[in-house]
Amino acid sequence: MSIPFTHFLVLSTLLFFIGIYGFLTRKNLITMLMSAELILNAVNINFVVFNKYLYPDQLHGHFFTLFIIGIAAAEAAVAIAIIINLYRNFSTMDVEEIDQLKH
């Protein structure tokens, strides 16, 4: 245990808020999706580190991370299908010009 436990938490906190910043400032749908992936990644680091350092005899954090990765994959697939369909109808990726879900 050469690395202090809190340094991992500092890393994941900073990564989380970088993702939040990107989500708030970006206007392109795909870059917003990337920011959401950054946020999920920060949460994964947190789960893994809590599992490793606080409850090393169990694997709950490990399984939660696995499920989050799976759900992130499903979310990315559906989001990209929606993005491609929107691009076909609106020819833009800007969230302020896309104001209608059904076209």
Binding site: M1, S2, I3, T6, H7, L9, V10, L11, T13, L14, L15, F16, F17, I18, I20, Y21, G22, L24, T25, R26, K27, I30, T31, L33, M34, S35, E37, L38, N41, N44, I45, V48, V49, K52, Y53, L54, P56, Q58, L59, H60, H62, F63, T65, L66, F67, I69, G70, I71, A72, A73, A74, E75, A76, A77, V78, I80, A81, Y87, R88, M93
Partner: protein
């Protein structure tokens, strides 16, 4: 010593490329920087001896999601165009919100007294993971496993239906 140096190196890679993901003006480069962030995260999992999780991170994130994002960028964006810079006011307010939130969280983390367990060298082998994931007794995760399999199937069907070209509308 070596481990510490590697940890801080990977942390610097993660944070630096994450900032570049959210600030770069070229969208394809943002996707590649995201790949670096996810790869360095997998390296941190390797350092914590979560080898299976690191492998899943590389295959699903780097191999699946980033490739999917790159494909959709290539389908929808023109390579020569740049993303617009957000308005100064928006950047300022978002930065203040994020800095405030980060400060609050870091303050809480650094003042709370965690009690980390000292011996943490038990490797998580794949046999144990598989047995526990498919176990329906105590500490078993077979129900979420089945639910997520149905969820992935539903997401796949939904993605195909949404992205499918509709029939040309006859007058």
């Amino acid at each position: 010593m070596m481990e510490q140096a590697l940890f801080y190196l990977f942390s610097a890679i993660i944070l630096g490329f994450a900032i570049m993901v959210v600030t770069t003006r070229r969208i394809l480069r943002a996707a590649i920087y995201l790949l670096f962030v996810l790869g360095a995260t997998a390296a941190i999992y390797f350092m914590l001896h979560y080898n299976f999780l690191a492998a899943v991170q590389i295959t699903v994130y780097a191999g699946g999601i980033v490739v999917l994002i790159i494909f959709s960028i290539l389908l929808t964006s023109k390579m020569e165009e740049r993303l617009e810079v957000p308005a100064l006011r928006k950047m300022l307010f978002s930065g203040i919100v994020c800095a405030g939130g980060a400060f609050l969280c870091l303050h809480t983390i650094l003042t709370y007294s965690f009690n980390p367990v000292v011996e943490t060298t038990k490797p998580s082998d794949v046999k144990l993971i598989g047995e526990q994931m498919l176990n329906y007794g105590a500490n078993g995760y077979v129900l979420p496993f089945e639910v997520i399999s149905v969820l992935l199937l539903a997401a796949m069907v939904g993605a195909i239906i949404i992205a499918k070209k509709g029939k040309p509308q006859n007058p």
